[in-house]
Amino acid sequence: MGGLSIIAPWIAPYGYETQNLELKAVPPQLSWNTMQAVYGRCTLEQARTNAEQLGGALGKIKNTQVAAKLHGTIDERDYGETMWVSDWQGAGPKRIEISPDGFIPLDDAGDEATFLYLHSRAHWLGTDELGRDLFTRLLYGGRVSLMVGLCATSVSLTIGVLFGAVAGYFGGRTDDLMMRFVDVLYALPFTIFVILLTVIFERNIWNLFLAIGAVEWLTMSRIVRGQVLSLRQQEFIEAAIALGIPRWRIIWRHIIPNCLGPVIVYTTLTIPVVMLLEAFLSFLGLGVQPPMSSWGLLIRDGSKVLEEFPWLMIFPGSVLAVTLFSLNFLGDGLRDALDVRISKD
């Protein structure tokens, strides 16, 4: 088990890497049936170097009328008849028909003609039905998912720690009352409450954070309370009371910092739970709303067109699974390393 903690920081970069990539501001809309094209008169040699610089493929316009029409972009339906594309590298789901009569061998150098440089943008993970690049959507979705993970966790952290600390510190009847409240909430189907909360309030992302955070703090508050109860017996708290330090200050400065260990561990374990909950809500259509993307939403979209485009389901699914795996691993590793005995639920 100790081995896990050694590997944990080693496995964790998974999660970290995914996080970093999100910062790339990739344009969220790329389509596969329109490609940017630049054209002009030049020799084949020049055309080829230009095309290479653009990282694209090279095409030749057979008739100039079409070329005029094609200023800027070309359409899928123009492919077969009007132009010929060499070294096609675009990984779009549709491949271009090469028309035999338009074919001009590449070593036919020296001729001046109108060439098209297709600005090929490879779609690493393909595109969705609406022609949006899946990779981009995954990155953007990851931002949402990770943000939910962090924000909702901090919401639950705040509520949980404060609630637990107050209950534990004051003890007696206050404690009883507050913990009965937690018990009651425990008995409730909390997923249902998140669903209700998301339905009721306007569906924007901040409300989502709040809704998830508002139901995930229960275990945290129990852990903190347990810690505080044992801390309260110790001499330094007694000393603080004797010094006449106000209660909230004792809680804030002396109690809370001293139970940080288990809190940190449990927080790392909460993040995957929260992310899963967000994905779950988005999957049901209750979380992040369509123009945005999140991993849950991508999985939902993908599972609808499973038969035709399985990759739309498989990639987001595996990304989510790998991230959850890494976070769980990190949490487990931390827990074993710090050897904190907390319940796993």
Binding site: I195, L196, L284, M313, F325, N328, D345
Partner: protein
């Protein structure tokens, strides 16, 4: 024991009342009612009549009183969206399907999880330990809504062994139950392994071996009883999880169960339907937790005195 059960049931009543009140007012606070759809009802008279039919023209307080009064009599009121049907009827129709799905999943989870956990704990630190535990880790990290479509993709679309959706034959039960049960099988396997490892190292197991009990008897009779405690404790939260999972699985496999009704009702602002299903779920979970506690006490004599 009976006292405990009675006490717990009594305690459930205020909890349910709180749930009912919360859902009732939370729904009423929402913008948009059940009749504000894309095509709003133009005719003012019809609208008034509709509202009157559902008792929504009264002030909120008397609506609430009516609701509680009906609730005590076990009547959840008419559904707003399923025209001419009572919420009770809808639940009575849909719940057996969900319950069946849940039971199958639980069976899958217990069977797979217990078997894997037992094998892993008996062959500790061998291939037979690592292999199921690695599978369990995967099972935990792949959410149901990823697992479901993947299973459909491989078993119904590629291999064509099962139907991709539906709830007609016994064969249709397999994939949903695997999807929903798989994740819990993973947790149960881990808990069983942990519990068994702890129990098997204790003195009374050695004593049992020493007095000449067969290994099978030691494991099944002496070991399992203690080793299963964490698993049983987990079943309470698992029930809640199975419920939540059923929303997803019923959506994926298009099973007309209660979970789907709940999600749809929440979308459609079908007030009575939402409140009804929430209350129903809450009751179920409370009951299940009670059963789990009773089983725990039965398994663990140390808990009996408290």
């Amino acid at each position: 024991m009976w006292k405990l059960i009675a006490f717990r049931l009594l305690k459930a009543i205020p909890v349910l009342l709180i749930v009912a009140t919360l859902t009732f007012f939370m729904l009423r606070l929402t913008k948009g009612g059940p009749f504000d759809q894309e095509k709003p009802i133009q005719d003012e008279a019809i609208r008034k009549q509709l509202l009157a039919h559902y008792g929504m023209d009264k002030p909120l307080s008397s609506q609430y009183l009516d609701f509680i009064k009906n609730l005590v009599q076990g009547d959840l009121g008419p559904s707003f969206k399923h025209q001419g049907r009572q919420v009770n009827e809808v639940i009575a129709e849909a719940f057996p399907r969900s319950a069946e799905l849940g039971l199958w999943s639980l069976a899958v989870a217990m069977a797979l999880g217990l078997a894997a956990g037992l094998i892993a704990s008996l062959k500790k630190n061998s291939f037979l330990d690592y292999c199921p535990m690695a599978l369990a880790m995967i099972g935990i990290c792949v959410p149901t809504f990823v697992m479901g479509p993947l299973l459909i993709l491989s078993f119904s679309l590629e291999l064509e062994w099962f139907n991709a959706s539906g709830w007609n034959s016994l064969k249709d039960r397999i994939l949903p139950a695997l999807t929903l049960g798989g994740a819990y099988a993973a947790y149960i396997a881990r808990l069983t392994r942990g519990g068994m490892l702890e129990v098997l190292s204790q003195d009374y197991i050695r004593t049992a071996h020493a007095k000449g009990a067969s290994p099978a008897r030691v494991i099944l009779h002496h070991g399992l009883r203690g080793g299963l405690l964490p698993v049983v404790a987990f079943l309470g939260p698992a029930a809640a999880g199975l419920l939540a999972g059923s929303f997803v699985v019923e959506t994926i496999f298009q099973i007309p169960g209660l979970g789907r009704h709940f999600v749809e009702a929440a979308f459609n602002r079908d007030y009575t339907m939402v409140t009804g299903t929430v209350l129903f779920f809450a009751t179920l979970i409370i009951l299940f937790n009670l059963i789990v506690d009773v089983v725990q006490i039965w398994l663990n004599p140390r808990l009996r005195s408290t």
